[in-house]
């Protein structure tokens, strides 16, 4: 009886280890949904409509990028009389007001410069300043919210607007690509991440009928939707885009991702600036999860946000750090309690990870081959060198043993089964430890050695672990009720649209 209980406990630990593969399995399910997009799309309801569109750009110290962005917007394949750009200058201290005034003079009636005398309250407040003025006028039929650095391809707004012919649609978002050229290792990681998180995940969400987030840099709303939202953007959180997206769907309107409307943005080029941006997003996600706690896994007729699939997608990302720590803890407990079972669980976990990794990476690179060619090295190394080694080893232990014969790994690992040893403890602890090492990369970056060491550490631990560390930090910040600060990502105008 006692033995059975111990045995049962071991199996619970094995299950907890296998749960470590859930985020990858959920991502695979989302990628499989992409294949259903050719049937469940919104193109049948599209029509060539050109609603009078107000383009709202919040700007704080954007002198380096705002001029070319406005020029690009004025060059859109869209009737010029149906376009107005409202630049809301959030009390900039650089040359933004002068650039804005020059553009207003260059495009009279099309570019309107609004200035807040007191700024720094965050993007949502800046947007609301412009929104109040735009809604006070009947002219606007649709509102495009974007960022100062975002470069729209000429056909992008036209392709977004065609979905607004369907009165059930409340908002449309575009595919944002990372456009820094030549860029660096970090912008390439982000470039690949955006294939998975936008081109793939949002297609999957189109199929599901539930969208997690309108891209902050490219969201087109109908006037009716904005009025239904109360005519203002939520200012109580750090995830105003996600709140707007959820509210739109809860009010019964559809949110559409248009993958063929492409816009380019400059994304963070260092761990420090990525950390600031993603901490803000992750804290926003904690706030969204809490605010909509009665929504999850409760299917409704009015919207699909409560569907089981959407809940799994959301929580597999949201809880990934918890899953990784639990997985490591269960493996280490088994290591000391029932070593053969630990090996079985470890092997199963990494076989699943290997299969999902190959499928997701291969398919993602094919979904957007142009970006794929630019970022394939980062795609391959997305899980990090150590995780990649574990994946290869899990699939081909004999091959690995042969290749590394005489090295320390073969002394401890697979010879038909695993042997105890410090290297095994390290591998079992790695899912959790990788987040700590990723944090170390962030801490080390500003130092003299960090310039070389930190990129190397990111390649070793993986970009995914870096994002998980950031999500974990967001839990801590929210638990401590840390102040909500808007740390703006610095933009320097490096975006080059590939020809």
């Amino acid at each position: 009886m006692g033995h059975d209980l111990i045995d049962g406990g071991d199996w619970i630990l094995v299950i907890l280890v296998i749960v470590g593969a859930f985020p990858e399995l959920a991502a695979t399910w989302q990628f499989l949904l992409v294949a259903g997009h050719f049937r469940r799309h919104h193109y049948d309801a599209c029509a060539p409509v050109f609603p009078r569109t107000a383009i709202l750009i919040p700007a704080w110290n954007e002198a380096a990028v705002i001029g070319p962005s406005i020029d690009r917007l004025m060059g859109l394949e869209y009737p010029r009389e149906a376009l107005r750009i409202y630049l809301v200058d959030d009390a900039s201290t650089d040359q933004t007001p002068e650039v804005a005034a020059a553009k207003a003079a260059q495009y009279p009636g099309n570019v309107i410069h609004l200035r807040r005398s007191k700024g720094g309250q965050g993007k949502a407040h800046t947007l609301n300043h412009g929104l109040a003025i735009i809604l006070d006028d009947d002219w606007m039929q649709a509102l495009l919210i974007t960022d100062a650095d975002v470069i729209f391809t000429p056909d992008s707004l036209r392709k977004m607007a065609r979905h607004l012919a369907d009165p059930q649609v409340g908002a449309v978002t575009a595919y944002i690509k990372e456009g820094s050229r030549p860029g660096n290792y970090m912008t390439r990681f982000i470039g690949y991440e955006y294939i998975t998180a936008q081109a793939a995940a949002r297609r999957g969400q189109n199929v599901l009928g539930a969208t997690a987030c309108l891209a902050g840099g490219a969201q087109l709303h109908t006037r009716a939707n904005l009025v239904a939202l109360g005519g203002r953007i939520d200012t109580s959180s750090l995830a105003e885009d996600t709140f707007t997206t959820f509210q739109t769907q809860l009010l019964g309107r559809r949110v559409i991702f248009e993958p063929h409307a492409v816009v380019w943005a400059e994304e963070p080029g260092s761990i420090g600036s990525l950390w600031k941006q993603r901490l803000r997003w992750a804290r926003g996600n904690v706030q969204v999860t809490r605010r909509y706690r009665k929504l999850w896994f409760r299917p409704s007729r009015g919207h699909r946000l409560g569907s089981v699939s959407f809940g799994i997608f959301w929580f597999c990302l949201f809880l990934q750090p918890v899953v990784m720590i639990t997985c490591s803890a269960a493996l280490l407990t088994l290591y000391f309690g029932n070593f053969p079972r630990a090996w079985l669980a470890f092997h199963l976990l990494w076989i699943i990870n290997a299969v999902t990794y190959i499928f997701i990476t291969g398919f993602a690179l094919l979904i957007d081959p142009k970006i794929g060619r630019h970022t394939w090295r980062q795609a391959v190394l997305f899980p990090g060198m150590i995780n990649l080694s574990i994946i290869i080893y899990s699939c081909f232990p004999r091959l690995f043993r042969g290749l590394l014969r005489g090295f320390f790994i073969s002394a401890h690992l697979y010879q038909g089964h695993a042997h105890r040893g410090w290297i095994v403890v390290f591998i079992y602890a790695w899912p959790a430890a990788s987040m700590a090492v990723a944090y170390l990369a962030k801490v080390a970056e500003p130092g003299r050695l960090g310039r070389f060491l930190s990129p190397l550490l990111v390649y070793v631990v993986g970009y995914g672990s870096l994002l998980c560390a950031c999500t974990f930090a967001s839990y801590v910040k929210e638990l401590r009720k840390a102040e909500m600060t808007w740390d703006k990502t610095e933009k320097t105008g490096k975006v080059v649209i590939p020809t």
Partner: protein, 64 residues
């Protein structure tokens, strides 16, 4: 009143598509291209799944 004074309170602020309006050939072609791209993604997904299957088979046959 809009800045260009072309519109007033009596204007229709809703987005509407005129169902009688002719759809240009270019527009229809663009929609067909988009759908064709989405269909191509099915083929790509199947191709990658096939590669995964081959790896699993090779691994099962030769590396266990």
């Amino acid at each position: 009143m809009g800045q260009d004074r072309e519109d007033g309170k009596g204007g229709d602020p809703d987005v509407t598509a005129d169902p009688g309006a002719p759809r240009s050939r270019a527009f229809d072609q663009e929609i067909r291209d988009a759908i064709r791209y989405e269909q191509g993604l099915v083929v790509k997904a199947l191709a990658v799944l096939a590669v995964v299957a081959v790896i699993v088979i090779v691994r099962t046959l030769y590396f266990t």
